[in-house]
Symmetry: C2
Subunit: 454 residues, 2 copies
C-alpha cells in the first residue's frame, strides 16, 4: 500500500530551499504572536505556593485564616437569575477562552487566501478537535457554497458517468468514523531549524473529527466502475484553485475513502469543504479535496500541478519524492510545550498526541532527559485506526533544565525517527512529511523552548 | 448498582399529573415551531424523479440533454478568490444550516431561565454532538463564570477538607471519555400522549460528548476520604438554583465520575457548566451538577429538594420512585422521524441512536411494520460504554402506510420496553425515565407522525 514513488524527473527548480520556507523576520512575528497557551498554562495555580502534587490547593483551615475573596464574597451568579435557554441557538465558548483560537502565520504565504491557520493544540483535550478550531489550509480562499447548487460528477472508467446532488448522496447508506487529518507540510518549518516557538505553529496543521459520509466505492460501483483498468481516481475541488489529486484505487476499495458531508455530528464547516469533501484516512490533507465536485476514474496517476510541482520533496540524490501521501507515525507533547512556563517545581501531567496513517498507535514512549531513557506513556482508550491518540505520563519537575520528547510506534511496528535519522535519509531540501521526534527544552526558569536535539 | 429506592413517604401533592406537564395550547405551539428537519429532509432530492436507490441522480447524457444550471454556469466560487484563513478565528456552521439549532419549547416551564432547549437530533450524524447544539437544562439560568474566581470545596467525611482552583484541578492527571448525557425527563411528554411532533422535542434532552477531567475519587483520596463511612457524596452547584444531588460512592469508586472541565476537546461551554461540572456516566443529567462548587462526603442520602420534591415519580401504589438515577436502555429513530416527509417511494437509510446507562449497546432491532417483525440494525463502531451508539438499516419504502420502531438491548441483556409494558409498571403519573419504544408513522403521503402504539 506504499505510495512512496520517487519521481524520475528532477524538478529542482520548483523546490524551495527550507531556509526560504519561512523567513527569519516572519519567524520573529510568529514568536510574538504565538505565546498563547493552555489558559496561561494554569498560571494562577502556579503562582501560588508550591506543594508536591497540587501547588496551590489549601486546607480549609488555611482559607479561614487567610481569607479568599472568591469564597467569602457571594458572587452574582449565586444570587441572581441567569440567562435563558436558547439565548444562543448555536452556542459559543466562554468569553474567558477567547485566546484559544486558530492563528495564521503571516509571511508563510503571499496572500492569506492561500495560506494556513494553525490549530491551538496546546489548549485542547482528548482527541476530538472542536470544529471551530479545526486548522485551515486554503489554496484560493474559502467559500460558503449553497448545497442545493452543488453537484458531484463521476466520470472516466465507469459504465455510466453520473451527476449527484448533495441530497442524493445524503440519502444513501452512510458511515461515521473518527480520523485525523494532517497537512503534508505540518512541521515543515522544523526542517529548517527555524524553531517556531509553540506547538500550535510546529504541529497545528493537524485535527481530528468524527466524519460522516458515503464510502466512495459504493458510488463508483453504482456508476459501474471498471476496477480492472481503473486503478486510480482523480479528485477535483470546485474552488478557484482547481485542486486535483490522484488517489490509488486500492485505498478506495478498502471502503475507507468517504464522500463526506458530516463532521463532528453536523454538516462540514465552510472552511473545511462544505458541503462535500473527500476523506482519505491516513493520507495527507491535500488529498482530502474540499468542495469536491468531480471524481474521475483512470488507469494511471495524473501528475497534476498539485502533485508534480507542489507536494514533492527534493532528495539528496537529485530525484523527487512524489505521491508521498501516507502520513507516517508521529507524536508531539502538547503540554508542557513551547511558549508555556512551569512556574514552580512539582507535579505535571505530560500529555500529547500520537497518530499514524498506517493504522493504530501501539505505544508512545516519553523521555524527560533528551532521549537517554524512556518511559511508557498511558494511552487514552479507545485507540482508533488512523485517529489521534492521546497519551499522558505523570512527572515531577525538580526545577532542573530538561529536554522532553515523545516517540510513537504504530501497529506496523514502525517507530517515529529522530531528526538525525530523518535528515540522513531525506537531506536538507525537504518541506513535507517531517515526522521526526519533537524536543521541548524546559529551562531552569521553567520556560519551554522548541529545540532540535538528537 | 441499582439506585431504584421507592420512597416510603407518599408525596402526591408535589407530583404533577402528566396532563399538566405540557398544556394542549403549548403543544400546538411546539407543533408549529418544530417542523425543522434534516436539511428539509433532502427535499430537493426527493422532489426529483424516482429511482430504486437514488431518486434524482442522473446520467450525464441526461444532463447534456436537459441542462443543469448548477453545472453549466460556472459559479462564482470557481472563478474568484475566496475568504482568507482565520477570517473567523473560531469557526461557525454554514449560513445554509441556520435552521439546525437548539430550540425551546415555550410553555414547558414558567420562565425561560428555568427551562430546556432541545438538541436537533433529526439533523445530526454519528455520535458526537456539536457543543453549540448540546441541549440545555437550566434551573436558574446560565452564567459565564470567571474560572479564576471559581473554587471547588471538598468537605464532610474527609481527613482534610480542601479548596481547589480550576487551574489546580487541570494540573492533575486527567482522562477523556465519550459519554451520553440525558435529562431524566427526556421523552417525559410522551407519557401524556401529547405526541409532540419531532424527535427534537420527544428525545432532544440528549447529547454525547468527549468529556475531560479528573476522576473524583483521586481528589477525594487526596483529601483523605473515609470510604467506610462515607458511602454517598453531595454535589452542589454555584448558580442560584442551589442544585444539590446525592450520588452513591460506589459510582465514584468505579473511577467513572469526573470533575470535568473539558468537552469535545475544549473547555466546557458556559451553558453546560463552565468552568467545572460533574460527569456521572449513565446517570440522569440533573446529577451532572454544573458550575460545581462543592462535594460533601456523607453516610446517607441527603433527600435534597431536587431529589425529594423534584425528580420523583408517583407510582400506582401511592409510593414514589426516588433516586432513580440510572438512564435505562433506550433508542430512537432520528431519520425518518416526526415532521419529516418522504417525498417519493424508494431507498431510505433508517438511522437513529441507542444508549444505556448500564453499559454498552449490544443490539438494536428495527421494525417497519409496527413491531410485528424485526430486523437487526447495523451498529457504528466503536460501540462505547455509556455512550450513544448510531444504528442504521437500509430500507425501501413502497409508498404504504407504515410504523417505524427501534428496540435496543444493552450488555446486561435488558431490552427496551414497549409503552404498554412500561405503563403497566409505572401507571399514568410518571414524568421521568420514560425509555419506551418510540413509534413513527409514515402515512401513504410520506408524512411522518409521532404515534403511540404497542
Amino acid at each position: 500500500m506504499s505510495l512512496n514513488i520517487a519521481s524520475d524527473t528532477p524538478l529542482g527548480r520548483v523546490a524551495r530551499a527550507p531556509e526560504n520556507f519561512l523567513s527569519r523576520q516572519d519567524v520573529a512575528f510568529v514568536n510574538r504572536a504565538g505565546a498563547d497557551d493552555r489558559r496561561a498554562f494554569f498560571k494562577k495555580a502556579f503562582a501560588a505556593a508550591a506543594a508536591a502534587t497540587l501547588a496551590g490547593a489549601r486546607p480549609m483551615q488555611a482559607i479561614a485564616a487567610e481569607g479568599d475573596p472568591a469564597i467569602l464574597n457571594l458572587p452574582e451568579h449565586t444570587r441572581g437569575l441567569g440567562l435563558p435557554v436558547a439565548a444562543r441557538p448555536y452556542g459559543m465558548p466562554s468569553q474567558f477562552e477567547q485566546n484559544l483560537q486558530r492563528r495564521e502565520s503571516p509571511g508563510l504565504t503571499r496572500v492569506s487566501a492561500a495560506s494556513v491557520s494553525f490549530c491551538p493544540l496546546q489548549g485542547l483535550f482528548g482527541i476530538i478537535t472542536p470544529s471551530g478550531l479545526h486548522f485551515e489550509r486554503h489554496h484560493q480562499g474559502w467559500w460558503d457554497i449553497d448545497p442545493s447548487q452543488h453537484r458531484l460528477m463521476i466520470n472516466g472508467l465507469v459504465k455510466t458517468p453520473m451527476v449527484f446532488t448533495v441530497d442524493e448522496l445524503m440519502r444513501m447508506e452512510s458511515v461515521s468514523r473518527i480520523h485525523f487529518i494532517e497537512c503534508g507540510a505540518n512541521s515543515g518549518m522544523e526542517w529548517a531549524n527555524v524553531a517556531v516557538p509553540t506547538v500550535q505553529y510546529t504541529h497545528g496543521m493537524l485535527s481530528c473529527s468524527e466524519f460522516t459520509g458515503v464510502p466512495l466505492i459504493k458510488v463508483l460501483e453504482y456508476c459501474g466502475v471498471d476496477l480492472k483498468k481503473g486503478r486510480y481516481i482523480l479528485a477535483e475541488g470546485a474552488d478557484g484553485s482547481s485542486m486535483t489529486r490522484t488517489i490509488p484505487m486500492e485505498l478506495v476499495e478498502s471502503g475507507e475513502v468517504l464522500l463526506a458531508y458530516g463532521q463532528n455530528g453536523e454538516m462540514l464547516r465552510p472552511e473545511n469543504g462544505y458541503p462535500l469533501r473527500l476523506v482519505v484516512p491516513g493520507v495527507q490533507g491535500v488529498s482530502w479535496v474540499k468542495y469536491l465536485r468531480r471524481i474521475e476514474v483512470g488507469d494511471q496517476p495524473w501528475a497534476t500541478k498539485d502533485e508534480a510541482i507542489h507536494y514533492v520533496d527534493l532528495m539528496p540524490d537529485g530525484t523527487h519524492r512524489q505521491y508521498t501521501s501516507i502520513q507516517e507515525c508521529k507524536s508531539v507533547i502538547t503540554t508542557p510545550s513551547g511558549g508555556q512556563r512551569l512556574l514552580n517545581p512539582g507535579f505535571y501531567n505530560i500529555t500529547g498526541l500520537a497518530w499514524s496513517g498506517r493504522g493504530k498507535i501501539k505505544a508512545v514512549d516519553v523521555s524527560v532527559d533528551g532521549g537517554k531513557t524512556w518511559a511508557t506513556a498511558q494511552l487514552q482508550t479507545p485507540v482508533l485506526d488512523k485517529s489521534l491518540t492521546r497519551f499522558s505520563l505523570p512527572w515531577v519537575w525538580k526545577g532542573q533544565d530538561v529536554i522532553l520528547q515523545s516517540r510513537a510506534m504504530d501497529s506496523t511496528g514502525y517507530v517515529q525517527p529522530s531528526y538525525r535519522t530523518l535528515r540522513a535519509k531525506r537531506g536538507d531540501k525537504s518541506i513535507y512529511h517531517n515526522n521526526a521526534i519533537q524536543s521541548w527544552r524546559v529551562d531552569a526558569g521553567g520556560e519551554v523552548h522548541n529545540v532540535h536535539v538528537g
